[in-house]
């Protein structure tokens, strides 16, 4: 104890805890305790925005991070998940050894040697008993492209597995199909600078402020005082920031878009020169939408004729109109046609290929775009087609494998794999870096399905996810920041992630796990050139040659590092100016053989489950906050992120709906659908319209309610529409 208790202690050890110093990092001063001796950048591993994070390293290990100022994507900003990206790595429930379910039914730590023997032995046993196709895999949009490619190649070319899909089915499949059919290739055409160049920005089914806050930053930087139109049933944070909010009835978006197209055509808003030169099917489309008068559209959408006219007028008058959509469109029973209705609007007004325009799908996961090109699930590696013999030959030649190893049949989609479990066709399932037992639609059925499997392998960072706890074998994976590779972001920018932390225990990068499995399976030789991620990247670049996504001009990781990421395409021989952002279709040439984009359309169908007297409310689901990511297997590991979102499940409900049910504010209620129920706190707010309720998807119980219905073309689940009812917790149900 100091002798002078009455003197003021201005400095000391406690003050030093918070001392800050200049450290030569672009953010300026940093905590002295965490002052880096070196830094490196890495692309964030959550969403598809693809922000670069400057990792602060001390003694070779990451101690802190800050968003990278000179990276063209995020310009020095990051959302809370990015800021807290290091926290999930240090979680106490990391899987640190393989786990094998023992005789007592418990998961018991095992050596890698035993785990690999178990994997190979049991997968083989299932295949021997039920055929090669009885084992399937579910992959992810969360691992680097190189690992996806290795997984897809090992399973399909090495292990004779036919069916494999990714969790990207849950977020991006609709956009993939929509683009493929309309443009001839899955090619989001935009660059983020388009947000800044537009004078009209139309956001459809996108709560950009919460889901992609760093893309919203680009809208904030727009100097053209843009009209911002938000099409969303809820008055979201983004809708609040809009100049026009079209609070349409859920799933009336297709009618809305057809009605707008009709009105724009009538108003003379068609860019005839563009339509004639670069599209096909316009006349049929124009004839089709004639039936969608403003009155009929108003009737179906609940939007006034006046508001519709104003919106059509805004689009007509805009010189650089960009259309953006996310899950509100993709997760729909007719999402492909809705996305194409958006594409149609961009095509007929000639808003594509120029700065500030485009029909732009905002992607979900950090590497959904990598998965779309290189996961070897729906598409053959490099955006090729399994059914195309020339494509198979090309891939076989480059990979130096027997062409017969490449299946000519397409894989089942995620829902078909789950259905295959029920029909007895799928007996073994390998799930990599996704949390099916939380995220898949209609959980009661899903859990039933998982129980029927003879062998379930889960490869994940955590042994505690809802899915991992059901596994027969858990393979401990290194996470983001513990390995190398590349991600492709929403604007097609390929960026590097880096190994900046040591994985705990015996956790291994998925790349190494897959290499070990290849070896144990006896096909190690097939991947002898796949020595490390960068070697794989070079193989993938070679595979992409001649494709719309040609990246043969990217020499390697050093080039990606120097150029601050590269947007595809970059064919060999083409140079890239790192200061320019690149968009597709500037020349009006699309990827169909005739070079023309297609107008695609179809009469709207009602959603499969309509409300009725017993289930009078429509359940909307979506992202709850920017501090949560999907099933929260990672974001829940940061104490700070946990502080920033609701701890208990809640349901947003309109006060008018709550009153007759005598539901008081903030009390517990039961939300029921025909499939299940969940307990939630009632949050009464006019932000949701009468007749609708909203529940964030981050609560596992949410998918007890959802209806397993799918877009027929993309097989993407329609998470955002089903019928429910709500009652007070104390009241009896039926």
């Amino acid at each position: 104890m100091r002798l002078a208790p009455f003197s003021t202690q201005r400095d000391g050890l406690l003050s030093l805890e918070l001392a800050r110093d200049a450290a030569g990092v672009d953010i300026g001063q940093v905590p002295r305790r965490l002052k880096p001796d070196a830094t490196t950048t890495a692309i964030c591993g959550y969403c598809s925005t693809g922000c670069a994070l400057t990792i602060h390293m001390k003694g070779g290990v990451a101690v802190n991070l800050s968003p990278t100022l000179d990276y063209p994507v995020n310009l020095g900003a990051a959302c809370p998940k990015g800021w807290e990206a290091l926290a999930p790595l240090a979680a106490s429930d990391r899987a640190t050894t393989p786990l094998i379910r023992g005789a007592g039914g418990r998961l018991v730590p095992a050596t890698w040697s035993d785990a690999l023997a178990t994997f190979v032995g049991r997968v083989r046993r299932v295949q021997e008993r039920h055929g090669n196709d009885s084992v399937a895999f579910i992959s992810t949009g969360q691992i680097p492209t190189e690992e996806m490619a290795l997984l897809g190649s090992l399973t399909k070319f090495g292990m004779g597995i036919l069916h494999g899909d990714g969790n990207t089915r849950q977020c991006m499949a609709t956009s993939v199909v929509a683009y493929k059919q309309a443009f001839g290739f899955d090619a989001p055409p935009y660059t983020y600078a388009d947000f800044e160049e537009s004078d009209v920005i139309v956001l459809i089914g996108s709560n950009l402020c919460i889901a992609h806050p760093i893309m919203w930053q680009r809208i904030c930087r727009n100097q053209h005082r843009p009209a911002i139109v938000v099409v969303d049933p809820r008055k979201t944070e983004t809708a609040m920031a809009a100049t026009q909010h079209i609070a349409l009835r859920p799933k009336s978006d297709l009618v809305l878009l057809y009605g707008l197209a009709n009105r724009i055509i009538l108003d003379g808003g068609v860019d005839e020169r563009f339509v004639d030169a670069h599209t096909t099917g316009f006349d049929e489309f124009a004839a089709f939408v004639q039936g969608y008068s403003l009155e009929r559209t108003a009737e179906a959408t609940g939007i006034s004729v006046e508001a519709l006219r104003r919106l059509a007028d805004t689009i007509c008058k805009g010189r650089r109109v960009s259309f953006w959509w996310t899950m509100g469109v993709n997760q729909s029973h007719e999402g492909v046609r809705v996305a194409q209705a958006i594409i149609n609007l961009a095509l007929l007004t000639g808003n594509i290929g120029r700065p500030g325009t485009g029909a732009n799908s905002v992607t979900g996961q950090c590497n959904a775009m990598g998965s779309r090109l290189f996961s070897n699930t729906t598409n053959l590696l490099g955006g090729h087609d399994f059914a195309n013999a020339a494509h198979r030959a090309k891939v076989a030649r480059i990979l130096e494998i027997d062409e017969s190893r490449i299946p000519a049949k397409a894989s089942w989609a995620y829902d078909q794999i789950i259905e295959g479990i029920f029909s007895g066709r799928i007996k073994g399932l390998w799930i990599i870096a996704t949390n099916t037992a939380h995220s898949w639609i209609n959980q009661a059925d899903l859990h039933d399905a998982l129980g029927r499997l003879e062998f379930l392998v889960v490869q994940d960072m955590y042994a505690t996810t809802e899915t991992a706890v059901r596994a027969h074998l858990v393979l401990p994976a290194a996470g983001w920041g513990e390995k190398e590779g590349t991600f492709i972001n929403s604007e097609r920018r390929i960026g590097l992630l880096k190994k900046v932390a040591r994985a705990p225990g015996q956790a291994l990068a998925d790349f190494y796990i897959l290499k070990l499995i290849a070896d144990a399976w006896g096909v190690g030789d097939m991947f002898r050139r796949w020595t490390h991620p960068e070697a794989v990247f070079r193989i993938l670049a070679e595979l992409s040659r001649g494709q719309p996504c040609d990246i043969s001009g990217i020499e390697g990781y050093d080039m990606l590092e120097t150029l601050r990421g590269v947007q595809w395409p970059l064919p060999e021989g083409e140079s890239v100016d790192p200061s320019t952002e690149r968009r597709l279709f500037a020349d009006g040439r699309f990827f169909h053989d005739d070079g023309r984009a297609r107008f695609l359309f179809e009469p709207p169908r009602p959603p499969p489950e309509l409300t009725n007297a017993r289930y009078p409310l429509t359940l909307l689901t979506g992202r709850g906050s920017s501090s949560q990511w999907h099933t929260e297997s990672r974001t829940s590991k940061s104490a700070v992120l946990r502080k920033l979102h609701p701890r208990e499940p809640y349901v947003e409900m309109n006060p008018t709906d709550a009153a007759p049910l005598k539901i008081a504010r903030n009390t517990w209620v039961i939300v029921e659908s025909r499939r299940g129920h969940m307990r939630a706190r009632a949050h009464l707010t006019p932000v949701v319209q009468e007749g609708q309720v909203f529940i964030p998807m981050h609560f596992a119980e949410c998918n007890q309610l959802t209806l397993a219905s799918f877009d027929p073309y993309s097989r993407q689940p329609s998470y955002k529409h089903c019928a429910v009812r709500v009652r007070r917790e104390g009241d009896l149900g039926e």
């Binding site: 104890m1 208790p5 009455f6 003021t8 202690q9 201005r10 400095d11 918070l18 800050r20 030569g24 672009d26 300026g28 905590p31 070196a38 830094t39 490196t40 390293m57 070779g60 800050s66 968003p67 100022l69 995020n74 020095g76 990051a78 809370p80 800021w83 807290e84 040697s113 690999l116 023997a117 090669n132 004779g160 402020c209 919460i210 806050p213 760093i214 919203w216 609040m240 513990e482 880096k498 040591r502 994985a503 291994l508 070990l516 144990a520 006896g522 590092e561 906050s625 920017s626 501090s627 700070v640 920033l644 979102h645 809640y650 903030n666 706190r681 949050h683 707010t685 932000v687 009468e690």
Partner: protein, 562 residues
């Protein structure tokens, strides 16, 4: 598979596993991609130049946060950036910023507005005024309210005085910490962490004129559902082009949350009040039996009362995050009621111990002292006087926080009645015991004291029950929130408090008064009285914990379900 012979699956090459495990544990991207920094990077400074003041401050001005509500869309990057770039405690989830949500409007035009908030660097900071160790200072030039971490003793009083819940207690360090507006960054020409982090440039640092801030605070209307600005005059300026509808409320408005029980403080309060009450009982008993003031021969009374007082002070030290610096708490006498309370109870303890020492002094010494009864009576007056002032300081300590549950009237009744209950019940017990042992004669006073005690005990309980009247209030104010907590979440403790209070403060005294009417004092009387004391002590302790737990006041808008 494709018809080729399969390899036996059990053959797994161990060296390969070891190779990959080694690769995995090998050092990181540093070797290949690291950029080494040895000079200060200036790249960031330009970007945020418009968001921090360029010119110096004039007298009458200070720095303040400005938030453009139209630009804030609730991404909460500011919270995490502040956490990361200031090196806050990860395990304690320490955050100096928060983002709340206001919702309102009509069915046709619903409105929601996210609100980022941090320390408001008030013109009249309540944290600073209340701090007993002067661990807060308001920078004379910038107006930034800075917390001196090494000076803090962890009493957490600032957490009660700040109307916006800004100071955060760190259990690991035993101190509170708070936002310093990144003073060092501003001094170096850099923007604060939150300003740099906001993707929408919603936060900026501006120069404000103090007089204007005061004027605006007096006019009320800071943020819906937040504490009234007149208390501390917060400087944060929330600006918007569109006025918020008048029915906007925080998303957590209807969430009524209980507060910390602060058991160490509850024990300290009840025991100091008991100690003072016991000295009062001693005085009352002496008067009752007609002994001259200053004379007291059952020595144990003073010893017991002083012991309870010292115990109270020991308990209070347990409340501190850094108890070994407890003595510092006297520094803040000029402004802090906590310092004054500690001083008064410190003096009280000294006088009480002196008094106790005299009462048990060897007869030779005592003869000399008792030869000067005036000195003894002055000492007793000092004990009672400092004790009473100490209790008054305790009252003021809570009244100063400007919470409706803790107003001067309510708190003085609460604490004062505890003193009187202590005085009555201990007088009864001591008087009856002394009569039994023949040490003194309480006689007919016992019955009168018992009846008075029952009346007081009953009145206090009824008054506390009266808190539930606020359940009928139409508006969800502070007192209704407290009532909701007492009737709901805290119901068990509230009922327990009544059982103890009714037993000790009403039933036992009434039984005693009935028994005392017939025949001489028996040991059973003293036992009943002692049981009464025990129940009262227990009841008051629970009451005091509820005093802390049931306080529920608006701070700043919070989010849904938080």
């Amino acid at each position: 598979m494709l018809g080729e012979p399969r390899m036996q699956s059990s053959v797994v090459r161990l060296p390969l596993i070891e190779h990959y495990l080694r690769e995995q544990s090998r050092a990181t991207a540093v070797e290949r991609f690291a950029r080494v920094h040895d000079q200060e990077s200036l790249a960031g400074k330009d970007r945020y130049r418009d968001l921090i003041p360029v010119e110096g401050l004039k007298p009458g001005q200070q720095l303040a946060f400005q938030v453009d509500l139209d630009a804030c869309t609730g991404c909460k990057a500011c919270v995490t950036a502040c956490h990361r770039m200031n090196g806050l405690d990860g395990e304690e989830a320490e955050t100096w910023r928060d983002v709340g949500l206001l919702q309102g409007g009509s069915a046709d035009a619903p409105v929601q507005q996210t609100i980022t908030t941090a320390c408001h660097h008030c013109v009249d900071p309540a944290c600073m005024k209340g701090c007993p160790v002067n661990a807060y200072e308001k920078d004379p030039v910038t107006g930034i309210v800075r917390h001196l971490d090494d000076q803090c003793i962890g009493c957490q009083y600032c957490m009660l005085t700040c109307p916006y819940e800004v100071p955060q207690f760190n259990r690991r360090l035993g101190i509170v910490r708070k936002c310093d507006m990144c003073a060092g960054r501003l001094a170096a020409g850099e923007a604060t962490a939150c300003v740099q982090a906001c993707p929408n440039e919603a936060i900026s640092i501006r120069v404000v004129n103090t007089a204007e801030v005061v004027e605006e605070a007096q006019a009320g209307g800071f943020l819906p559902g937040a504490a009234p600005p007149a208390i501390t005059i917060p400087t944060t300026n929330y600006v918007s082009r569109r006025p918020l509808p008048r029915n906007m409320l925080p998303a957590d408005f209807y969430r009524v949350r209980s507060s910390n029980a602060h058991w160490a403080l509850a024990i300290m309060l009840v025991l100091t009040q008991f100690s003072v009450g016991m000295f009062l009982a001693d005085f009352l008993l002496a008067s009752a039996i007609g002994a001259p003031f200053g004379s007291r021969w059952p020595a144990y009374r003073g010893v017991l009362a002083a012991f309870v007082g010292v115990l109270a002070l020991v308990a209070s030290v347990f409340h501190l995050g850094r108890p070994k610096y407890a003595l510092r708490a006297l520094i803040g006498l000029r402004t802090s009621w906590l310092s004054r309370e500690i001083l008064m109870f410190g003096l009280f303890a000294v006088f009480a111990l002196a008094d106790a020492a005299i009462s048990i002094a060897p007869p030779i010494l005592r003869r000399d002292i008792e030869a000067t009864p005036a000195a003894v009576s002055v000492l007793q007056m000092l004990v009672l006087g400092t004790g009473a002032l100490g209790v008054l300081c305790s009252v003021m300590l809570y009244a100063a926080t400007q919470k409706q549950l803790w107003t001067f009237g309510r708190t003085s009744f609460r604490f004062g009645s505890t003193v009187l209950l202590a005085a009555g019940s201990s007088a009864l017990t001591m008087g009856l015991t002394e009569e039994l042992t023949g040490a003194a004669t309480i006689g007919a006073h016992a019955k009168r004291i018992a009846l008075a005690l029952a009346l007081l005990g009953g009145t206090k309980l009824l008054w506390e029950l009266g808190a539930l009247v606020h359940l009928r209030a139409k508006s969800l104010g502070e007192l209704k929130r407290s009532a909701i907590l007492l009737a709901g979440e805290l119901r068990g403790a509230f009922v327990f408090r009544f059982v103890l209070g009714a037993m000790g403060g009403v039933v036992f005294p009434l039984v005693l008064s009935a028994l005392l009417g017939s025949g001489p004092v028996s040991p059973s009387h003293a036992v009943v009285a002692a049981m009464g004391v025990a129940c009262i002590v227990g009841g008051e302790l629970v009451e005091r914990s509820l005093f802390f737990r049931s306080v529920s006041v608006p701070t700043m808008p919070g989010g849904i379900g938080r």
